[in-house]
Amino acid sequence: MTATGELAAIDFVPAPKAGPRAIRLGLVGGAVAVFVSVNGMVEAFSGRLLLGSLALGEALLLSVPLLIGYLAGRPEPVLEGFTARRPGWRNVLAGLVAGLASGVTLALFVVLVASFDIRGVFLNATPELVRDGPRILTFGLELGAGLGLLLGLYVALGGAGGVLQVLPGRFRRAVLTALGWVAGLALMQPAVAQVLRGIQQELRIWTAPLTDFLYDASGALSVPGIATIAAAAFCLQLLASRQHRKPVRTRLEQLPDRSRRILRVAILAAVLLLLGLLPQVIGPFLSEVLNIAGIFLLMALGLNIVVGFAGLLDLGYVAFFAVGAYTTALLTSPQSSVGVGWVFWLAVPFVILAAAVSGLMVGTPVLRMRGDYLAIVTLGFGEIARLLFISDWLKPWFGGAQGIIQVGDISLGPVQIRTPEAFFYVLFVFVLLAAYATYALQDSRIGRAWMAMREDEAVAEAMGVNIVTAKLSAFIVGAVLAGFGGALFATKIGSVFPHSFNVIVSITVLVVIIVGGMASVPGVVLGTLVLVGLPELLREFEEYRFLIYGALLIFMMLKRPEGFIPSGRRAEELHEQEVAQDEWLVAGAPETGATDADRDEPN
């Protein structure tokens, strides 16, 4: 006991390689800055004003040193039993050094572009970056002055990032929150403005002054807007992180049963009311964005069952989406080869049937395959499905590349669902059912069989789970959910074309559940909104969508492999606090709350 006591008193004396680390990080940051310049992002984004007169491209360029400085200023990891060194000027210095290293790297690139024409290799390294026109990288100044400003800004922002690390935890979090809100509201200006307009029109709450206050005519956040948002977010976050404050969850649990029930009903009612008003308030464009995300969400919930629960990596998932879409098109379009022109709801049972059969058709031959082999074979099946739909051979039925047009609308009684706003409600019901089914299946005999199969196929079989039925049922449930997605997609677009069903759809859905959180419904929802919804809003990023997906995937795999909102047990698995579990430790047995605290905010 005394030994640990003495150890705890020793400072972590050996000055570890903070300098090299800062320089290394700085060079990485410089490389990132050069990369976004050379691939055209900075220039492509320089047209849109973000904050006052700062364009998105410049903001992107300047966010690099801030981030790098923040990372470089992070306190050294401390061995257990040693006291951490108090954060101080060293952290700021590390930030400054990292900022300088980034700045120098970028400055060298600027000189390179100014001196040589490198467009032969880097197509997007246009003269506008440095020499002609707006001279983005030198902020419109002459080369010398511009480089000076660039370096100065980089060092200053790197230092600012380092300063963040010196602030006490609450303040740092408050500053980061403020930064996040300002950046978010600036980036999302079109959507925010639309929502404010919608509130004014639908709810008769006069929001125009607020919009005018927050945003300039150019669409950038105005200077008073920035100040207000930052101040409000800072103060609110500071208030929210007051010490000795019980988490909301425990406070809720302390309420008497009766008030808890009332609260639950009230929250449910409020959510339903909000969702009821939502499409009206956000208008057709944002509703359409949500609808696209919703269709992907249906697919993601289905794939989540196949990959997340049953552990069957299916890369050809788009095939079932296509089957659902084509079945709907064939049965509801008067122009199709079947030509019956049924109403949508009549086609739904056939969509289920067709999707289930196709799930069976894909599932049966791959029963004996796992992991990589399964992934490759299903990838093949996905392509086969697309090629069949596009083929001349089946053209009399599926219309080949011309697809099928005039897919019927959904009708509810006499009401035709035509607008995106109305469609949202229908889609929402489907998504709700799918989410409910996911939860229900997870907590059932069949769900446990799937998970057992995911963990160890041979043992699951030895423990009484028939692997054949378990696998096929997972494929079928997944296929049916994707089929619903396809059916809704077909009726929403009003036509189906084979090129809508390429492998990118499968990949996107898989990325959604990996980034969102495997086997976790909230994770899948968030993943869809972020990865499918956001790109629709941030049209500037459209060209760089897959670049950002890739970067995000790498980041997630390194830093948070369990996803944004992991299912409880995966989080534990991947960030496990070693739990000693033998009987002599039972007295101090850690409760499950440990992981929640762990997830809260790693300092």
């Binding site: 229900a440 069949i446 069989a449 041979a458 079989e461 423990m463 789970v465 047990r569 534990e572």
Partner: protein
């Protein structure tokens, strides 16, 4: 008639004959130990019996029914459960869920019921849960309470072994095959397990066959010891009979130089 009969069971792996024309009977209510040097074919025997590996020749009868060629899940449903030499749990599932999986073959609810949740489904879920908890309570306080909801992977090694036995027990087996149940346990834990194995037989009426290298356990618990070497049965009988058998000593220690 014996509960369980093996006749002429043979399995080749490439050129190696792992099990070679084996005959073996196990009576109801027996505790039988299977011993033998490494590579004698003990685990292969368990794999063959539970259907995880298919036999090349021979018959396995359980309660008078031929079970060779059935799926492992069907064999479990008939009442033969097993544990594994290198503990194989479902690591990410909770302790309770691990055991609940073993009730799969004793329950019926399908997907439709899982989604619609009629009273029959709830009743079955509740019973599955209770049966699982009861199987865990068999090991005293070690796997109960807050441990119900911890992932299996976070258990200590000995507790993993116990959980594996609980999982097998939850399927209501008539014959339980334990593959080195005490590997990695300390002497005190081994003592305790000997007691538990007896209780499984006496209180739950389970017939038990176990593979074991720990001779204290073999001596302490088994009524009959079966010795395998090169896939063949070379001796069987009470522990002291077998322990003094020349062929057994030879299999373990090698042939004496003088007799060569």
């Amino acid at each position: 008639m014996a509960l369980f009969e093996i006749r002429g069971l043979t399995k080749d792996f490439g050129g190696v004959r792992a099990v070679d024309g084996l005959d073996l009977d196990i009576d109801e209510g027996e505790i039988v130990s299977v011993i033998g040097p490494n590579g004698a074919g003990k685990t292969t025997l368990f794999n063959l019996v539970t259907g995880m590996v298919t036999a090349d020749q021979g018959a396995v009868n359980f309660q008078g029914r031929a079970i060779a060629g059935l799926r492992p899940s069907q064999i479990l449903a008939l009442g033969i459960a097993r544990t594994f030499q290198n503990v194989r749990l479902f690591p990410e599932m909770t302790v309770r869920e691990n055991v609940m999986v073993a009730r799969h073959c004793r329950t019926r609810s399908g997907m439709l019921k899982a989604v619609l949740r009629p009273p029959s489904f709830r009743r079955e879920e509740k019973e599955t849960r209770q049966r699982a908890e009861r199987a865990l309570e068999f090991f005293g306080s070690r796997l109960v309470g807050w441990r119900f909801d911890t992932p299996a992977r976070s258990l200590s090694y000995a507790n993993r072994r116990r959980l594996e036995i609980a999982r097998a027990l939850a399927s209501d087996p008539k014959l339980l095959l334990l593959d080195e149940p005490t590997a990695g346990m300390n002497p005190r834990e081994t003592e305790e397990l000997i007691e538990l194995i007896r209780r499984m037989r006496d209180d739950l009426g389970v017939t038990i066959a176990l593979i074991e290298h720990d001779m204290r356990l073999v001596k302490g618990v088994s009524e009959r010891v079966v010795v395998l070497d090169y896939g063949q049965l070379i001796a069987q009988g009470r522990y002291d009979e077998v322990a003094s058998n020349d062929r057994v000593i030879e299999a373990y220690l090698g042939r004496k130089a003088t007799t060569a």
